[in-house]
Symmetry: C2
Subunit: 390 residues, 2 copies
Amino acid sequence: MITVSEALEHLFSLVTPLGTETVPLAQAVGRVMAEDATAVRTQPPFAGSAMDGYGVRADEVAVGAKFKIIGESAAGRGFDGFVGPGEAVRIFTGAPVPEGVDFVVIQEDVDRFVNTITIERDPGDNANIRPAGNDFAAGFTLTAPRTLSPNEVALLAAMNIPEVTVYRRPDIALISTGDELVMPGDTPGPDQIIVSNTFGLKALFDRAGAVTRILPIAKDDPASVETVFELAEGADLVITIGGASVGDYDIVGQVAQELGMQQSFYKVKMRPGKPLMAGRMGEALMIGLPGNPVSAMVCGNVFVLPVVDALQGLPPAARPRQSAPLAAAIPSNGPREHYMRGRVENGRMTVFERQDSSLLSVLAEANALVIRPPEDGARQTGDLVEYLPI
Amino acid sequence: MITVSEALEHLFSLVTPLGTETVPLAQAVGRVMAEDATAVRTQPPFAGSAMDGYGVRADEVAVGAKFKIIGESAAGRGFDGFVGPGEAVRIFTGAPVPEGVDFVVIQEDVDRFVNTITIERDPGDNANIRPAGNDFAAGFTLTAPRTLSPNEVALLAAMNIPEVTVYRRPDIALISTGDELVMPGDTPGPDQIIVSNTFGLKALFDRAGAVTRILPIAKDDPASVETVFELAEGADLVITIGGASVGDYDIVGQVAQELGMQQSFYKVKMRPGKPLMAGRMGEALMIGLPGNPVSAMVCGNVFVLPVVDALQGLPPAARPRQSAPLAAAIPSNGPREHYMRGRVENGRMTVFERQDSSLLSVLAEANALVIRPPEDGARQTGDLVEYLPI
């Protein structure tokens, strides 16, 4: 058995970033930018007023000073003339500062009578002028790769970038296997249960940028598994669920190898999720997740999300961990790295009592996987533990 | 001027949750569930094996004990007979435990010869059986409202819920105003800049469940503003950007009131974002955001996201704050609540030096708004500060 970080290294070695495509800026949030974006224009392109007020010469600013208003500079329509001594220009927030002006007295500090203003209150030292290039200069670059946030989308707009080159969304095919499984909405027989992993995993992967297809459930016979594998044609990542254990009916690996899958590894030293399999199958990457619902979701978070990131051109890396103090003590861990379901609330982590890998009701309450190293000793209330937000 | 929390209360008083619709489970992630979901079936519906092995009677388990294999229970195809003394059934993970069996010896602990097994190693006390209803019983309810996570989607699938009743996505119309603004991709005049807020805000609101439309930019004249307002027809929430300040050209509020907007408040005691306006306009809620790019994005996070949540039926509340220790000291705050741009990394918060509300390049580096109460004193390295993740 290999460790979780060894398994991740193996997975990353199988990943080639996907191709790129161009999307309109309005659809770019959450996508991974593939090429640096460079501003061709300085922002603001001119010195602009930071306030509504009157533009004057700084060396004339004093309480009691009077100025003649010779024009107006509004956002989008600046004042073209020169502002000389004793003169002022009415100016609005964001408007260009005219030549000759190097101070904006805010309107609350002046008294206006027809076309004359008098400074009534000390305007202080702040000139209320934003210099050209205050935000960024022409040539400013937002570097790739990065997953675009709403704030970065706003910045790209200000940089006058109407379209963005992004990595293609990974096409993921999800295959559940097992004679015991039926689809939600079906009427299960007495020995059957409802398939749940594909729905949870699709939600997880789509949120990370993938386009995930739920394929028909494969029966526990090689012909059925082969038929469903063929439906995965064109996928960048084929994910099977179940059939990666050691039982006589675990035939997925066998069929995949007959179809040309080159296995990279099998079994990881972790809880839950030991029977994890990965390899290349033609152009696609294949990952076999364990069939227990919680194990599948945990492995989806620990292994598949970093692969989805890497397929989209992000640097290969585990998702970042956070840490929080324990709300209650937890016992020592066994020989495998353990991803315990827990809930962080008000900055404190509660690790759930029931950790059986079949309990979706417990997983649904969790927002964190607490990571226990192998043979980690008992931990006390207040001890810091690392976790993966889920 | 009112406080941020007073402004939020005013906003919530204007919100009526939207109607509901039914979506397939595969499209339910991120949506707000509107009705409780109740399992009609117990999960697992039968006592099932937690391992691959052999099902026997617990009182016969001992090293050296021999059993005759009388059948097999696989997932989806259980064993119908009764297992008597000296008898065993081959059983796989997830398969129903036959009558008479109350212990599963894992296959690693037995030696099998044709149809006989001998227990070779002490199997311990764990019966490796998951009782019926181990995960949940029929009648188990996932309560509404809640924003569905991937884990909850998996749970709903296991509960055999193929469709979910969710609140409708809010239809948001975004209107930027200002003669100085042009669209990304256009060639701005010397006094013009590129509109950025609508793109950033659309990304922010869509991620929170809305369907956001970017309307044409309104010019700084009443007829243009009115024309664009009419394009917002049918929106649940109309958001204007700019024109809510005190300059002579700030005509949005004036036009909105002529169109029947009933103003709830105007100006909030905060930085950035003081000129915030809200009211009802027919069936729609209207919020006027300030025009400075960073102010607009900050107010989008602080005010609009909670409104988007409340429109989708979530309890009216500010987005939850987190806290982190400061990586460096920060000076005292003035009389207004200040939302400072910062970055939390490795659990420590760095507040950026440059806090001018025009700096999108700084906002793009931020992942947090550090919340400073009015007149908050200087804070030292290591002091805990509250923040809103962005």
